[in-house]
Structures are given as C-alpha cells and as structure tokens.
Symmetry: C2
Subunit: 148 residues, 2 copies
DNA sequence: TGTGTTTCTCATGAAAATATGATAAATACT
DNA sequence: AGTATTTATCATATTTTCATGAGAAACACA
C-alpha cells in the first residue's frame, strides 16, 4: 500500500510522538529501536524536516522533534512526500486521467474505495494511532512498548 | 496500489475478454493496442497461462485466450501473481504479523479498509468491469472502444 | 518437408527503490 | 579553542522492477 520509505516515515514519526520528552531524539536512537537503516532514515527524516513536519538540530543534544502537534498531524502529511496517494497513480488501470467524465473500466467500482483510502490518511492523526495503542482494543490491551 | 506488471495483466485480460471471438489473440496485437512492451507482456501472460487463467498456443493462429469464463474470473486471480494484496504487506506499519491479537498502532483503524480492498479484488469480476463500461455510468456512456 | 508465425526462454540492460559508507557542517560542552 | 556529537550531504552499492533483444521450440499450413 505504501512504500518502504513511507512506512519508515510513519513509524519514525510515531516513535517521536511517543518518545519526545522535550528533548530531540537522534536518528541513531530511532534507527536502533525500530531496526531501520540509519542513514536512510536520516535522509527520510531530513525530508520531513524540510516539509515542516519535524524540526532538526545538529550537534550534541541534537536530533529530531515533531514540529506539529500530534493531534494535528495527519498520516497523509507524513507519507505524502514518499508515496503518491491520490491523483496520478490512483486509477487502477493506470490512466493518466480517470474521472467521472473519463472513467476507466474500473472507475465507478473503485472510486469509492480509493476515496476511503485517501480519507483514511487525511483524517487519521498520529494521536489517533497513539490512542489506538492505549486501549483501542480494550482497557488493558498492550503495555505501550510496541507501537508499530 | 498495484504494480505496473499487475496493471498490464489486468488490462490485457480485460482486452482478451472484450476481443476474443473464438480465436486466440497474439501478444503483438494486445501490446500494440494497449501500448505495452511486447516481450514483457509476453512473460506476464505466460505466467497467467501457467496459473490456468489463460490458455496459450504457439505458431500461426496462436496466441492467448481466457481459460476461465469472464464472469467467474476475479481481479484478484489476475493480479495476485504479481502483487501481494493480502497477508504480508497488508499491515500499514509493515509488521510480519499484525492481527486482532497482535495489532500494530494502526491495525484497528486500517483493518476495515484493508478488508474492503481485498474484497474488491476478490469479488469484482472481469465481467463486472465490462458491464461497467457498457453503461455503468448511464445508458449512453462511451462507445466501448476505450476499456482501460 | 519447408516456411513463416507465434509463444517460450534466456541473457542482458535500464531505471527506480532501498541501503551503506565517508566526509562536511553545525552545535553543545568543557 | 578544542572535542565529541549529531545532522547534512555526497558518492556509491545493492536489490527489485521494468524493459529489450535474440534465439529456441512449437505449430499451422502449403
């Protein structure tokens, strides 16, 4: 559904939301804890910083922090730099243009689902995922140590 | 959503369903009409033939035909050899195992959508797409010459 | 039997995604 | 100032996906 890189971004941002206690978190820490390639994650987070989703700081006590409150940060914003979730690439049969006016053979049946997927990413926030972890499946589910 | 190869498969099978009048259709014809790379499509269709979805015949008057009636041929069967639509790769956060018992942070919110997507591919048949073309958006929509 | 047509198969290539390693630049701390 | 730490950047490698090309195998037909 989303690329490896988009998945890294999602998991890393979720990690940041869960672990930042005022101080930035280093790429090393995140990469180690989430078993991701360190330098690759570095580039990925750097792009998110350029997009204004994270702040980055170099040097000792440096690292990454959320630049947006987690209840206002949608999954779409996190994944969008790495995956094309809407517009082009939306048509199941790969048409450059596919709309109600110029539908492909699958358009009318597929449209609703594609919109739901798009809506999911737009409407789900990082906070929603955290809330889900903290009891989404019942009051005593999980211990909060295994977010992704 | 699906790979380029899966998309080729989908469009080619739809083409076969629309154009076979008893005789096999050659890869050359399909590739030309749908603007696909000929040899690549050949390999793709060959795999569908091995899966029992198409029949292939060599030599003059050879080519490919549907081996399954189009009203019993689901999009899932066509795409599945090329794209992992369920099981692994289903978890939004990339977990090898992600279930109600061992949910990732997105599981409960994502599950329903993932199931709908899976159901779409399983339940939609090639015939459904053809029907869609022949008036799915209204009685006089389209002329049937632009399936995908 | 021969010829042309078509799939099948293999070898290779190109492009994109993913990943690694080395170095530069910035910063906090002593 | 000096040093260690950390991101930023560049170069490169690996893997996967997508694509091309040539020839072998099968087949229809004359």
């Amino acid at each position: 559904m989303i690329s490896q890189t988009g998945e890294y971004a999602l998991r890393a941002v979720l990690y940041l939301a869960l672990h930042q206690k005022g101080d930035p978190v280093s790429v090393e820490t995140i990469a180690d804890d989430l078993s991701m390639p360190r330098n690759y994650l570095s580039k990925t987070l750097h792009l998110l910083a350029k997009r204004g989703i994270l702040t980055s700081a170099r040097g000792p006590r440096g690292g990454f922090e959320l630049a947006v409150p987690s209840d206002r940060l949608s999954l779409f914003e996190i994944v969008e730099p790495f995956d094309d979730l809407e517009g082009r690439g939306q048509c199941l049969l790969g048409r450059p243009e596919c709309s109600d006016q110029t539908p492909c053979a699958a358009h009318h049946r597929w449209k609703d689902l594609a919109q739901r997927v798009s809506a999911f990413f737009h409407e789900t926030t990082v906070d929603d995922l955290i809330a889900e972890m903290n009891g989404g499946a019942g009051p005593a589910a999980g211990n909060g140590s295994e977010p992704g």
